[in-house]
């Protein structure tokens, strides 16, 4: 019985020109967005790879130089473009692409792609993920708002109730058809994600990542669809169902994500750039170079060096004291940077947390967050990159300072090194993250999606059943 009902409902969908029009529109938008996404991601990845290679070349070919002079000329760490950024750019374009790894100073990531936008439109540029999250849910709203309210207004619900059809079968028929529709959308997702990337060989995401992504979309879209069916069952007329369903869509897909970002920035305002620069100058530079922090910091680092080399006096080692002071400053400043940047990143994470908890109120926001997490285009991936880049900066600056300390002898800043040293300085390599780690981080969003799915099922079954009962009376 249920199978017959599902087939009937699905056949009605297929006969409905509205369904075909929406399906075709989605397909066109998804294909265009996906192709463009892969194209952009590929050219972005190529530019970053070229920049990283050029950075190495510029570094190695700098000629003879004092190691500390070289540390000021410095290197860059470029964030690799994750392949799934083609599908879901998340906040990738709003986050810096490169970190300058200079001596004395920790720098925030710079070069945000979003700054290049020449055109302002009310909604962002198309991406496959956005089309599914926003346009896909709108299509579901339009297709399903009359699922029960339409039957009731046309009088067919009463006829169905009169045939003795149970509420369970009726709901199963409606929801089964919905699941088929959503399943079709999920196949589109696979096509959008896999085909262009697989054809060009750019897709390097694992099967588990793709499967998790598809399951997230299936779960979120089904939950959303069932809520619309529930709204339809609750409404007295098609008009009321339409107003409520569109209101629900606008709230969870359009308004909440924007208001969430604004609320996050209001609750946890960004640190002013000048304020951070001043703090760095006043806390990481001045106390050491012109204040009284220098002496204890140098003494502490000197003790470390003496212990390492088993010497009683620094002078016995024949090392350069200027370089010791430079590294002592790094050790001193690193603690300050851990605190200042710790506060900055804690603030960014607090902003992110606001959206995390708001995602409980919106299946679309929960999906957006989980999707960008799986695509590694979220804040967490960006912070991981900046932390790895800073750890790399500290490693290479120490390497340069120690070379000067151990080899400069009496020459001090007149000492120069050559490409033998430059070649020993490692390139920045971003460390990958596993899908399980991502899922662990996004457990609230996953729970929110499952809760919406469950609530959708319960509400759709309960309210549709009630509508059937009312018609029987």
């Amino acid at each position: 019985m249920t199978g017959t009902l599902i087939r009937k409902e699905f056949r009605e969908f297929l006969r409905d020109r509205r369904f075909l029009v929406l399906f075709a529109l989605m397909l066109v938008l998804l294909s265009a967005a996906s192709l463009d996404g892969w194209n952009r991601a590929r050219s972005d990845a190529a530019a970053r790879a070229h920049a990283a290679a050029s950075d190495r070349e510029i570094w190695v070919e700098q000629g003879e130089n004092n190691p500390h002079g070289a540390a000021h000329f410095a290197r860059y760490a470029f964030r690799p473009t994750p392949s799934l950024a083609a599908f879901d750019p998340g906040v990738f374009d709003f986050a810096g692409a490169a970190v300058w790894l200079e001596a004395h100073t920790q720098n925030p990531a710079a070069l945000r792609r979003a700054e290049d936008a020449a055109i302002a439109t009310p909604f962002p540029t198309l991406s496959a993920a956005w089309v599914i999250q926003v346009i896909g849910t709108l299509a579901l709203t339009v297709l399903l708002f009359q699922a029960v309210a339409g039957e009731r207004e046309r009088g067919t619900l009463r006829a169905l109730a009169a045939t003795g059809l149970s509420a369970g079968h009726f709901v199963a028929g409606k929801t089964g058809a919905v699941l088929l529709v959503v399943g079709g959308l999920c196949i589109l997702i696979f096509l959008a994600v896999l085909l262009p990337g697989a054809m060009s060989g750019d897709l390097d995401a694992g099967a588990m990542r793709i499967a998790t992504l598809a399951a997230s979309y299936l779960c979120a879209l089904t939950g959303f669809a069932l809520i619309v069916v529930a709204i339809s069952a609750r409404s007295r007329s098609q008009s009321a169902a339409f107003v409520l369903a569109i209101g629900f869509w606008v709230s969870v897909s359009v308004i909440l994500p924007v208001i969430g970002g604004q609320l996050a920035a209001s609750l946890h305002p960004d640190i002013d750039e000048q304020e951070l620069k001043n703090a760095i100058q006043l806390e990481a530079q001045s106390p050491f170079w012109s204040g009284d922090a220098r002496e204890p910091a140098v003494a502490a680092y000197e003790a470390e060096v003496l212990e390492e080399f088993g010497a009683a006096r620094f002078e016995d080692l024949g090392f350069d004291r200027e370089a010791l002071v430079l590294q002592a400053h790094e050790e001193f400043a690193n603690e300050v940077y851990d605190r200042l940047y710790g506060e900055l990143y804690a603030r960014h994470e607090a902003q992110d947390r606001v959206l995390r908890y708001l995602a409980i109120a919106s299946p679309v926001l929960a999906l957006q967050r989980l999707s960008s997490g799986l695509a590694e285009t979220d804040l967490t991936a960006q912070l991981r990159f900046t932390r790895q880049a800073e750890a790399h900066r500290r490693r290479i600056i120490e390497q340069l300072n120690r070379d000067m300390m151990m080899n400069a002898g009496e020459s001090g800043y007149a000492y120069t090194a050559d490409r033998t040293l430059w070649e020993q300085i490692p390139d920045f390599q971003a460390e990958p993250v596993s899908t399980l780690e991502i899922l662990e981080r996004y457990r609230i969003e996953i729970l929110a999606l499952l809760a919406w799915l469950l609530a959708g099922f319960i509400l759709a079954i309960h309210l549709s059943g009630r509508a059937m009962k009312q018609e029987r009376l």
């Binding site: 952009r40 920049a51 000329f73 290049d116 302002a120 439109t121 009310p122 339009v142 604004q262 996050a264």
Partner: protein
């Protein structure tokens, strides 16, 4: 008669709870967006007012030192050096930026101009804003008007006739002497009036609070009125064209999705795909290559520069640090080497804007968005103008201080006085905005007339 219909429709239309809730949500969004916008505007003004004075050169002090040096008095070798002249380039918030500043936090509003800067480092900011909040953008009034207003108008008026037709009441209404056209107009006005009045009041309040110029406020109110009229005409056409509520609903949402979401996003996507911008990362790479080359061949590079400026004697003042000359030359070389990329970047941006300007007539949302941003003094075009003007000012400063810096001299007092301060020149509001508004008005009037003719046939 129309007044009677209007009074009746106002009562009837706004009684159902879902409609009132939709209107309340709309009003709340507008109140939120304007309150937040005004506070952002004031914050932006206070940030500019508190520009980092310690980073700027005190011109009078610097000139006094220079005059002393020119008079032959002994001053510090670091005093009144051309490289220490620093100017502030500031982009003040536009007159109604509070209402259309969705992505303004992303753009630079200040730049420090001096010989220590190249075009690449001119706008290199400490990018400390949280990407999540930046990505979401601010909910400004322009977004609410462009995206939410049409949805509200359509949502509340797509079924003004079909709900009666589907329920069989419409025939009865006509038999009793009712007229479809009058009912249609009355019901549309009942919806459009609050949809227009709430943001219009918000605009006036914001304009008063920010002391915005009257012409910009007029443009906003006129744009809002024409846009509301356009969507009211679309709602009228949907109302008279579809007998069934469900089909009318689909038509209304499809028109909204196409004109507000799909067409603008597709136009932008097409412009960005057809005219891709050179990557910022490539820009940085070119700058690094130029800097590396200059520093490796500094002596030779300085000799070439001095050969081009034979009037400046080289090395009269050995106390001048060598990195003054090195940094200056590296910055000049960076500018020369990256000029092609910058030109290509600006050229592609201009082509993207040109394409959007040509295709804007396909979507009233693009047309209104462009007009509102231009009159509010926000948007990427104004920001691009600021960057261009700041870069031009940097060129002026670099040209003025170059020979003296490389020759390890000071400027003369006369030369120093000729270097101007930076002043941002507001770009003219493009004429295409006016054409777009007229086009939208024509569409609105045509749509309304067509709908009325069809409504008369229903009689």
């Amino acid at each position: 008669m129309l007044r009677f219909h209007l009074a009746r429709e106002f009562n009837a239309l706004w009684r159902p709870a879902p409609r009132l809730a939709a209107l309340a949500l709309y009003a709340a969004l507008i109140a939120w967006s304007v309150t937040d916008g005004v506070s952002w505007h004031r914050h932006a003004e206070s940030v500019l007012a508190g520009a980092p004075a310690d980073l700027l050169t005190d011109r009078s002090e610097w000139m006094a030192d220079l005059e002393s040096a020119e008079a032959g008095e002994e001053i510090s070798p670091y005093a009144a050096r051309p490289m220490s002249l620093t100017f502030l380039a500031a982009l003040p918030p536009g007159p109604l930026a509070a209402l259309a500043g969705r992505n303004e936090a992303m753009q630079p509003h200040t730049a420090l101009i001096s010989g220590w800067r190249s075009e690449v480092s001119l706008f290199q900011r400490y990018e400390v804003e949280g990407p999540v909040a930046l990505g979401a953008g601010r909910l400004d009034l322009a977004f609410v008007v462009v995206a939410v207003l049409p949805l509200l108008v359509l949502l509340l008026s797509f079924d003004v006739l079909s709900r009666d037709r589907e329920a069989g009441r419409f025939r009865l209404f006509l038999i009793q002497g009712g007229r479809a056209g009058q009912t249609l107009i009355a019901r549309l006005i009942a919806v459009a009036l609050p949809a227009f009045a709430i943001p219009a009041i918000a605009i006036l309040v914001a304009a008063l609070l920010l002391d915005a110029p009257v012409p910009a406020t007029r443009v906003w109110i006129a744009g809002l009125a024409i846009y509301t009229a356009f969507w009211s005409a679309v709602a009228a056409l949907v109302a008279v064209s579809f007998r069934q509520v469900s089909t009318g609903a689909l038509a209304a949402v499809t028109v909204w999705a196409l004109l507000v979401v799909v067409v603008p996003s597709t136009v932008r996507f097409t412009a960005e795909a057809l005219y891709p911008l050179p990557s910022r990362v490539s820009y940085l790479t070119e700058a690094r290559l130029a800097e590396g080359a200059t520093r490796r061949n500094l002596a030779e590079r300085a000799e070439i520069f001095m050969a081009e400026h034979p009037d400046e004697a080289d090395a009269p003042d050995e106390a001048v640090p060598g990195f003054y000359r090195a940094s200056y030359l590296a910055n000049v070389d960076i500018n020369t080497r990256t000029r092609g990329l910058v030109d290509a970047f600006e050229g592609q941006q201009a082509r993207q804007r040109g394409l959007v300007g040509a295709l804007q007539f396909l979507s009233p949302a693009i047309m209104l968005n462009q007009v509102l941003q231009a009159s509010a003094g926000t948007g990427p075009a104004r920001s691009a103008d600021f960057r261009r003007q700041a870069r031009a000012h940097l060129d002026v400063v670099l040209d003025a201080i170059g020979p003296a810096t490389v020759g390890r001299n000071r400027l003369t007092v006369e030369e120093a006085r000729r270097i101007p301060e930076f002043a941002f020149t507001e770009p003219a509001i493009p004429l295409s905005g006016l054409i777009a508004m007229i086009w939208m008005l024509v569409l609105a009037a045509g749509g309304k007339l067509l709908a009325l003719r069809r409504a008369q046939r229903l009689n």
